[in-house]
Amino acid sequence: MKKAFSRPQSLLDVPFHYCPGCTHGVAHRLVGEVIDELGIQDNVIGHAPVGCAVFTMDYFDFDMISAAHGRAPAVATGVKRVLPDRVVFTYQGDGDLAAIGTGEFVHAAVRGEKITCIFINNAVYGMTGGQMAPTTLPGQKTKTTPFGRDSVISGYPIKVCEMLTPLDGAAYIARAAVHSPRAIIQAKKAIKKAFQVQMAGLGFSLVEILSTCPTNWGLTPLEAVKWLEENMIPYFPLGEYKVPAAGVI
């Protein structure tokens, strides 16, 4: 029988270190599948963040660089400018990209750097033990907001896609999720388009992927998927926020 579904070639055959039910694994697989489909495995350079996904270089079977906390878009900028023929992407979480790395990704977008950011938003700091992240929802309980995030004290969540959309340098901005089979298929399409935008030299591309963190949310994986659907998606609406003109890619 023919294998209809198995591990993409761009992913090494090793088990992930992620907690049970963490959708980082799904996002890794989608990136691997897209790289396989575009045939760029020998021509891609990825940038690992600091956070749960810090070990991505152990999983992807292509060149990876580990950047300092939040600085992946800055390192990627350098790599892309020195090696413009390579496909350069960063894989970052919300504690990395949206907190300490806010300056880096915003200015990479402002400059229209031809790189792709895969941004995993799970509304919490995962690796450090579930503290409040910039993307934590109002009222959401975390280790540092045990009574729920109070907007008077802690402000409001950062909406990355909405923030980047007006920038001229940003060519493709989309938000997807990986909580359901349908959402996963759409997320893959968005990731593929982001890479194609970069390969066409159109400018900066970013795909935000809403992801679950069952361990730090204090829920079972199935409850976490439901929580994401009921709470995160209304606050962070899915869809393509900015797309290149029709027919360009």
Binding site: M1, K2, K3, A4, F5, S6, R7, L11, P15, F16, Y18, C19, P20, G21, C22, T23, H24, G25, V26, R29, S180, P181, I184, I185, P214, T220, P221, L222, V225
Partner: protein
């Protein structure tokens, strides 16, 4: 003809696949794997249509789907 192969040593027992299976044939095994999780399994393979939705949502790539090639 189709079948799913669950790589039991890769399964972390998150149960995401059990919720999405259109046939509802994925059950958690009573035994534990090397990591101490109860892995997902399909005792009734003949009911599997090979749709691959379980593999699509599996975060640990513990599911391989095989299908008979269509006659041309």
């Amino acid at each position: 003809m189709a079948r799913v192969i669950f790589l039991e040593e890769r399964c972390k027992g998150c149960q995401l696949c059990t919720a999405v299976c259109p046939k509802g044939i994925i059950v958690m095994s009573d035994s534990t794997n090397g990591m101490g999780y109860h892995p997902a399994s399909v005792p009734e393979q003949d009911k599997c249509t090979g749709c691959g939705i379980c593999a699509l949502v599996c975060p640990d790539m513990a599911i391989v789907v095989e299908r008979e090639e269509k006659a041309v």
